[in-house]
């Protein structure tokens, strides 16, 4: 619905990115990956670890990249086909702190927070697949990724995007996912039971760990999102066009490497880029520039025929206030209107640019995203919906609440035409006062309480859970010996 760039502008950005890849190159701190690229025709400086990638390699890689990604869920009714024209939403990623639901105090995040946020994400209809909302601080580092994965598998039937922080941890997570898929063979047939995500180190760099984990994905064809983390005026040019050019080059380097190692590995191609706030030296995610960057990147992704994944909807505000709401709404809305295939961070239960999780904010954002999804659905114009007969029947003297045919027509179409809000207040003042004159944060609290008390998911089968626990125990033992 929203197209920012003209065809000529898309071409200019594309050509510039090809120049960056071929002239400046990308630093990849991974010996094996550099050899793969060199053997395929790239120009590699092994000392500087810089690879210069010619355009033909990009074109070949894009050809091998699927145009869609089927993300499978434990419960098949939640399977989604990313790239089918819909915008799918995820929750936020990785909060180290959480505002305690009982005390209201900001404290370190816990495993219980991750379980609860996953359960809430399972409940919220706006969340199409689930990211690790929390990085718990009460779990030993050696088994952090494994414990997080188990917590997520247990608390949702939707598709889980698993955590990948370290190669060792990620390999365990893959093993656990194999159990979920019914063994290694089952997993090789169905690797999209999970996916994961990676950022680069801007400008134009990839660390050894990230590349190691990307190669792991390529080995099994595990889908992943790759998104530039450029900050305009800090780690990329101050100009949004320059930032996009750099980001395209950064993303494409991984597309090339992945498709050389594991042809056909599904990739969601995107951006976590935004601007650096020059007054405070902080990343400004709730900025209008963030939305513009997404809108442009979406067109570039679709120019290449790869699904777009963008972190749009991140909130900079430190409390669930009006700032939080506007920041979440404008960028998630722009990304959706511009046709993002995945709006990551849309249903955003986090504040402070990803640092501090907040339960109330999660319910408020679910509300905002419900409205956005309604907008995305658009208006259905058919012989039936233009309602000529009904307009004529109601005429001038009566209305749509007094004519039986009109009432029937309303009943038939109401739910598909009008979005039903959950915690938005539209009641008459008298009603609102009678129920305590509550604001949306208070209503969000009540909603969260209710969901946590009542929402249940189908538990994992006992033996599956036990096998996953065994992997964690094994790792714990090994880490103690070390």
């Amino acid at each position: 619905m929203f197209e920012l760039l003209s065809r000529d502008e898309i071409q200019m950005l594309h050509i510039a990115a090809m120049e960056v890849l071929e002239r400046t190159g990308i630093m990849i701190q991974h010996e094996k990956a550099l050899h793969v690229l060199k053997d395929s025709g790239a120009d590699v400086d092994f000392k500087k670890k810089i690879v210069k990638i010619p355009e033909f390699l990009i074109r070949e890689a894009i050809k091998k990249t699927p145009s869609r990604v089927l993300l499978k869920a434990r419960n098949p009714k939640y399977n989604i086909l990313v790239g089918d024209g819909n915008s799918y939403f995820t929750n936020g990623f990785g909060a180290y702190y959480t505002i305690d639901f009982e005390t209201g105090q900001r404290r370190l995040s816990t495993l219980k927070d991750l379980e609860e946020f996953t359960l809430l994400a399972d409940f919220f209809p706006t969340v199409d697949y689930i990211k690790p909302n929390i990085i718990p601080q009460d779990v030993p580092k050696a088994i952090l990724e494994q414990m997080m994965t188990l917590a997520m598998f247990k608390h949702t039937e939707k598709h889980c995007s698993v955590i990948s922080l370290t190669p060792e941890g990620f390999r365990d997570v893959i093993k656990m996912s194999m159990i979920l898929a019914g063994g290694e063979e089952g997993f090789r047939k169905n690797p999209s039971i999970i996916d994961t995500g990676f950022n680069n180190v801007p400008p134009l760099k990839y660390s050894a760990e990230i590349i190691e984990m990307i190669l792991e994905c390529a080995k099994y064809r595990i889908p992943f999102d790759i998104s530039t983390g450029a900050l305009a005026s800090g780690s990329s040019p101050v100009t949004l066009a320059g930032t996009i050019v750099q980001g395209i080059a950064e993303n494409h380097a991984v597309v090339v490497l992945t498709q050389l190692v594991g042809p056909g590995t599904p990739i969601m191609w995107g951006s976590c880029a935004t601007i650096l706030d020059q007054r405070y030296g902080t990343a400004a995610y709730g900025s209008p520039e963030n939305g513009l960057i997404h809108a442009a990147f979406i067109q570039m992704a679709h120019y290449y025929g790869i699904p777009y994944y963008g972190a749009a909807g991140v909130v900079d505000s430190k409390v669930p206030d009006a700032q939080a709401a506007y920041e979440n709404a404008i960028n998630a809305l722009i990304a959706t209107l511009a046709g993002a295939d995945v709006v990551h961070d849309a249903v955003y239960g986090i504040l402070e640019a990803g640092i501090t999780a907040c339960y109330e904010q999660f319910a408020i954002s679910n509300e905002i995203c419900g409205a956005i999804k309604r907008i995305a659905k658009g208006i259905k114009v058919t012989r039936e919906t233009i309602a000529l007969d009904i307009i004529e029947k109601v005429g001038h003297e009566r209305n749509h609440l007094t004519v039986m045919d009109a009432l029937k027509f309303t009943k038939k179409h109401l739910l598909e035409e009008h979005w039903q809000s959950s915690i938005t207040d539209r009641s008459p003042r008298s009603e609102w006062e009678k129920s305590g004159s509550k604001n949306i944060v208070q209503r969000a609290r009540e909603k969260i309480k209710e969901i946590l008390a009542t929402h249940k998911v189908e538990p994992l089968e006992k033996h599956i859970e036990q096998e996953m626990v065994n992997i964690i125990k094994e790792r714990q033992k090994l880490s103690r010996i070390k």
């Binding site: 701190q29 922080l165 370290t166 800090g234 780690s235 020059q278 007054r279």
Partner: protein, 219 residues
């Protein structure tokens, strides 16, 4: 004449005008002014003004960095003369700072380094992906008051501990205050690994460094 040069130096640094600062620094030597006075009353004051304003959100990062660059350009001309005269420039203290091994993130660490310089610290920025033994070497060689360790990855956070452990092993731990920072780090992590402090942003990092420097002085 001297006062005018000092005033202009301060202005040139504030405006981040590298050429002008260099020109004025040369003038300082030409007219036989005390280079220390030119630094302390001119350039350093300009840099501090910009640093203070940045802390309040009144100037942009780009202006802070350019003021720092102008100051460094001027210093490169004046410092040799100061050394010749066997004098020493008083600073707030000396800081060695870097991103730990395995981590190539630079932005946050560089902002802290720039702001520390503006506040009058001597800063040795070791860059990124710095091996533990290089940090230990730098502590031996430069004898800094503060060692700053940055990590932006969960995977590289243990390297902060490794550096602290290595300092202990070399008997250097009580010679330097170790401050840590970076995205995934927390105050609790700092405590766990035996660091002396943690800061979640550049302005708090500088405040922490100043507190430490002042404490040391008052002792």
């Amino acid at each position: 004449m001297e006062n005018l040069v000092i005033e202009n130096l301060k202005k040139a640094v504030t405006e981040g005008d590298i050429e002008k600062t260099k020109e004025l620094a040369k003038k300082v030597l030409e007219i036989g002014m005390d280079p220390l006075k030119a630094i302390n009353e001119g350039m350093a004051k300009g840099a501090k003004d910009v640093g203070d304003k940045f802390s309040k959100g009144e100037v942009f990062l780009v202006e802070l960095v350019m003021a720092g660059e102008a100051m460094k350009a001027g210093m490169s001309i004046l410092l040799p003369k100061i050394r010749e005269a066997r004098k020493e420039r008083k600073t707030f203290g000396k800081v060695v700072i870097g991103t730990v091994k395995g981590d190539i993130h630079s932005i946050g660490k560089d902002i802290v380094a720039t702001l520390l310089e503006a506040e009058g610290f001597e800063v040795i920025n070791m860059g990124e992906d710095v091996p533990t033994e290089k940090f230990v070497e730098a502590v031996k060689q430069h004898k800094p008051d503060i060692l700053g360790l940055s990590s932006l990855l969960t995977a590289t956070m243990p390297m902060q501990k490794e550096v602290i452990d290595a300092l202990k092993k070399e008997g250097l731990r009580d010679k330097v205050k170790v401050l840590i920072g970076g995205g995934p780090t927390t105050k609790e992590w700092a405590r766990e690994i035996g660091a002396d402090g943690w800061a979640g942003d550049a302005v708090s990092a500088v405040k922490l460094a100043k507190d430490i420097a002042l404490n040391k002085r008052s002792r």
